[in-house]
Each structure stands twice: as C-alpha cells, then as structure tokens.
C-alpha cells in the first residue's frame, strides 16, 4: 500500500521481518530528511521551498496542538463523522448490492437510479446536503456515506453474481430456505469482494469527509486545516495533513486486517499479492534451488508476517 509491491517482493527474501521494518522506517526518515534539507536551506529552484515550513516547525506546531483541547475535539469529530457514514454505507451498500444482484425486481427498480447517481462525485452533493439536512453535521455524514456507498454496492453486486451456483443448490437440497442461503452462502461467499469494496470505500470516505469539513464544517480536521490556511499558518496546515494521513492509514489498515481475518479460508495464492513468488533478477539465475523451496514452505508464517506490515 505504502510502497510499490514489486520492490517489497524483491527484498522479501534476503531481509528478515525486522529488516523490512527498518527499511520502511528508513524510507520515511529519508523523506523527512529531504524535506528538512530543502526547506531549511530555502531551496528556490523551479519548485519553491522558501515559504515551506520545515519539519521542525511542523513538529513544534504539532506538539502545541496535541497539548491543546481543540486538536482532540477535531479528531474525534472527524472520526465520528467518518465512522458513522462509513458504517451506514457498509450496511446499506451490502444490503443494496445483494438485493440488486439477487432480485430482478430490485434490479429494475433501483438499477437505473443507482447508475445515474453513481457518477456524481460525493463532494458535488454538498448543495444537496445543505438543502436536505437541518445541520451541517448530518450533511457531512451524508456525503461520507455517499462516497463509500457506491464502491461497496458495486463490488457486493459483482461478487454475489459471481458466486458458484452449486453452493446454493447444495443448501437448497439440504432443505435450506431463502434466509439460510443468504446467511450461509451469499454473504460469506461474497465477503472477499465486499471487503474489496470496503477498502476502496474507506479511502474515498476520507477524501470526502475532509473536503466536506473544509467547505461547511465546524470543528474537524479538515475544517481546522482550512482555517490555518486562511490565516496563513502553514505549519498548522501541515499538522492537519499529517493527521489526515495517519488517521486514513489507521482506518484503512483496520478494514484491511478485518477483511483478512474474515476471509482466512481463501486459498492462499489468490489472496496476498506480495506472497507471489516473483522471479527476481538477483536471485533466480544464481540460486534456483532456494526459489523452489520457497514455494513449498508452509504459507502460514508469511501470512502472520504480512499482517503486521500493512
């Protein structure tokens, strides 16, 4: 997620897990170091870093903010909005996706409506939200919800349609009814696809909750960031951006880990992309034997390792 997959694949074997962590921390540190150098030297080539706050400026601003109450209010406000909107989107998106995929009537009734609303960017619904809802708070949740709803709905619909019919027929001939098929076949079978949609959805939700807060919020990380910009407090803007980055990373990791936990039954090779034995330039010609060994070793250790490295 944070780094291109092929690179991670190539370094996987020579480095133990500690080494990979170190590499990740080092990459982050290098980026920060570059930032510090460019801004403290006021480099002004084509890109202008003279007005840019330095890493230490931002760190000081961050420390100030964290010790104040407003920062935490902003944080909890933004989190409440995104969690509410996202959970609503998850529940209604899955329900809608299953309904449209399983019922021809639902497909005819809802399909055209959904297809027309889907291309509208959620953030373009701000005027609608302002008209519809009594307060900004609900409007922001509505926009967050809309952002995540469509990715969840579409991927649920696709994965429900792609289910093997044999599973359903087997449950039918065991005497299972409609609800049994829904609970024992459709939902668990579509789960890998549903989590694909949830992962996309949580990302889009962040973009929209921050944008909506910038436009119409009171409190919230997006609102604070925009406020800092209007009063030319650039370190404050960066504090906001770092906060958004960390929160987004935490929430999408949560979704990702939950998804892995719930879809542990999937045959391994089709799931974790990093686990693919990619032919590596440095290793393959010189040492063909270890590569063969690697494909045979139990994949459980790799899975355990990967979960901590998302």
């Amino acid at each position: 997620m944070s780094r291109p997959a092929p690179r991670a694949g190539r370094y996987r074997r020579p480095l133990p897990p500690i080494g990979r962590y170190a590499l990740r921390v080092a990459a982050l540190a290098a980026a920060l170091g570059l930032w510090q150098v460019l801004t403290s030297l006021d480099v002004d080539l084509w890109l202008r870093f003279s007005q840019f706050p330095t890493v230490t400026d931002v760190a000081h601003a961050f420390a100030d903010r964290v010790s104040g109450a407003d920062y935490w209010t902003d944080l909890t406000d933004s989190l409440t909005r995104i969690v509410t909107g996202f959970l609503l989107a998850a529940v209604l998106g899955v329900a809608g996706g299953v309904l449209v995929a399983r019922s021809r009537l639902a497909e005819d009734l809802l399909g055209p409506l959904l297809e027309v609303v889907r291309p509208i960017p959620a953030i373009a619904l701000v005027p609608v939200a302002i008209l519809l809802f009594p307060s900004n708070e609900e409007g922001i949740v509505f926009i967050t919800f809309t952002a995540a709803f469509f990715p969840v709905l579409v991927s649920t619909r696709h994965s429900v349609r792609a289910l093997t019919p044999v599973w359903e027929e087997a449950v039918l001939t065991m005497g299972g009814g409609r609800w049994r098929i829904l609970g024992s076949v459709v939902l668990p079978g579509a789960l890998p696809g549903i989590f694909g949609g949830l992962s996309v959805g949580i990302g889009v939700s962040w973009i929209c909750v921050i944008s909506a807060e910038m436009i119409s919020g009171q409190y919230g990380v997006g609102y604070r960031t925009w406020q800092d910009y209007t009063i030319v407090n650039y370190p404050g803007v960066f504090v906001g951006m770092v906060t958004i980055g960390v929160l987004g990373w935490l929430t999408s990791t949560t979704v990702e880990l939950l998804g892995r936990r719930l879809t542990r039954w999937l045959p391994r090779t089709s799931y974790v992309p990093g686990a693919r034995p990619t032919p590596s330039r440095t290793l393959a010609p010189a040492r063909p034997a270890p590569a063969a060994v690697r494909t045979e070793q139990p994949s459980g250790t790799e899975e355990a390792r990967d979960e901590h490295l998302v």
Partner: protein, 264 residues
C-alpha cells in the same frame, strides 16, 4: 480405504431406525425433462423402488444430470408427473439430498462445519450437531480432518466429506451426480466400497449417475440406460455390490449389452 474396517462396528449402533422405512419411492410418468428452451429427455417412465440403488449410465449430454436435478426439484419437469411416495414433488427438500461431482463443499467452512450445515437446517441443537457431524466424518474416515478447510484436503477426501454431509441430514433419497468422476481409478474403487458400507443401514433410495459402466454395474441393483433423448432400458443387475461377480456370465452378458446400447 484403510478405515473401512473400523467403520463396521459403528454402523450397527447407528442403524437404529428400521432400515426399510427410511427409503422413498420416486416415480416419473411420461416426464419431459430439461430447460424450457432445450428439453433433453422426453417421455420418461421410471419407477425407483424404496431403498434400491439405481445407477444411470449414458453418453455425456444425454440428460443424466438433468434427471438428477429434476428429482432434486432444482429443475421443474416440462411435462408429465414426478411423484415421491405417490405425492407430486414440491420444491427442493432435505428428503432428497444431492451430491455433486466436485467443489460443492462451502470453502469457508471446515469439513465438520460443512457436515453440521444440514443438521443446523434441520434444527438439531448445537451440541448434538457437533457430535453427529464428528460421527459421520469418522464413518467416512475423516475423523482426523474435521477441522480442515476443503481446499486443504484431497479430492477424494472432499467427496467423502460431501457424502458425510449429504447423509448427515438423514435424507430418504440420495441423488449422486458422478460423485467419483474426478477421482483416479484406485481412489474410486475405495470410494465405491466406502459408499456401499456407509449406505448400508441408512435404507435410503439412491440414484447414482456415472459414465463408468463398471461402476454402474458394481453399485446398482438396477441400471438405467439413457441415450438419444430417451430412457432406453432399465436392467436388473445380477449379484450387485459383489467384487467377485465380475466374471459371472450373467454380469458379463449384461456389461456387453450395456456397452453396445451405449455405443449406438
């Protein structure tokens, strides 16, 4: 299978129900089967007796699977009548379990959880479910694999788990659609013996579809021949489920007959 020897003693404890009562009689009268736009079998008259094993052979595409799916009520008959014990079929039911060629186990459930599914549908209490599922898995020689996911075990083991799952619901008829078709010859012979062992005592009526004539002649009390969109014949099998009957003259003659009728 190596486990067939320790299966026998358990069987006696399970066959408490009078075995002859469990089976069901399935009758097809002038039935046309298939999809609406593509009927496959026309004018089928077939009477499957209570507790018998009827094997069905025929070239591929002749409607073997269609017949099974119709008996399972997954496909409505296009014409004619299909009865169970004199009453028309009304939708799929746990009384008629279907065993598929492969990959019908739910991949997210362990073998035991798969076998527990029909029991859960039949509202068996949770603790009782576990006990029964483990018994059934032991009976098909999978006691040590109860907690494995289906893709972690071999094809033959998956089919044994499917058999356990189908029988755990105590169906009155078991419909089997080339259940051993994807297995190698040796595993298949073992599976046939296991099937005979496990079925004994359930009293269930069995309809077993296969493309393997020898399998059909070993397992069946009778064999039905399908071809050219019709039911060609139903023949009694001498000395069914007897491995030593292979060179019985009557069996040899029947085998030749079946092969000729399939060849034309």
């Amino acid at each position: 299978m190596s486990t067939s020897s320790d299966i026998k003693p358990e069987l006696r404890t399970v066959a408490q129900a009078p075995s002859s009562v469990r089976g069901t009689r399935l009758t097809l009268q002038a039935a046309t089967l298939g999809r609406r736009d593509a009927p496959v079998l026309a004018d089928v008259d077939l009477d499957i007796a209570r507790g018998e094993i009827l094997t069905v052979v025929g070239p591929s595409g002749c409607g073997k699977s269609t017949l099974l799916r119709t008996l399972a009520s997954l496909l409505p008959p296009l014409a004619g009548e299909i009865d169970q014990d004199g009453h028309p079929l009304a939708g799929p039911s746990a009384e008629r379990a279907l065993i598929f060629q492969e990959d019908a186990l739910l991949p997210w459930r362990t073998l035991r959880a798969n076998v527990e599914l029909p029991l859960a549908i039949g509202r068996v209490p949770r603790s009782e479910r576990r006990v029964q599922a483990e018994e059934w898995l032991a009976r098909v020689g999978l006691a040590d694999h109860a907690r494995q996911l289906p893709h972690r075990v071999s094809g033959g083991q998956r089919q044994r788990a499917q058999l356990a799952r189908a029988l755990a619901g105590r169906p009155r008829a078991v419909l089997m659609d080339e259940p051993f078709g994807a297995l190698d010859a040796q595993t298949r012979a073992g599976m046939q013996d296991l099937l005979v062992e496990v079925l004994r005592g359930t009293g269930a009526t069995v309809v077993f579809v296969t493309h393997d004539v020898d399998e059909a002649l070993f397992l069946g009390d009778r064999v039905a021949l399908l071809g050219a969109g019709r039911l060609l014949a139903v023949r009694d099998i001498p000395r069914p489920r007897d491995r030593t009957a292979l060179d019985d003259p009557a069996r040899v003659a029947l085998r030749r007959d079946v092969l000729t009728s399939l060849g034309t």
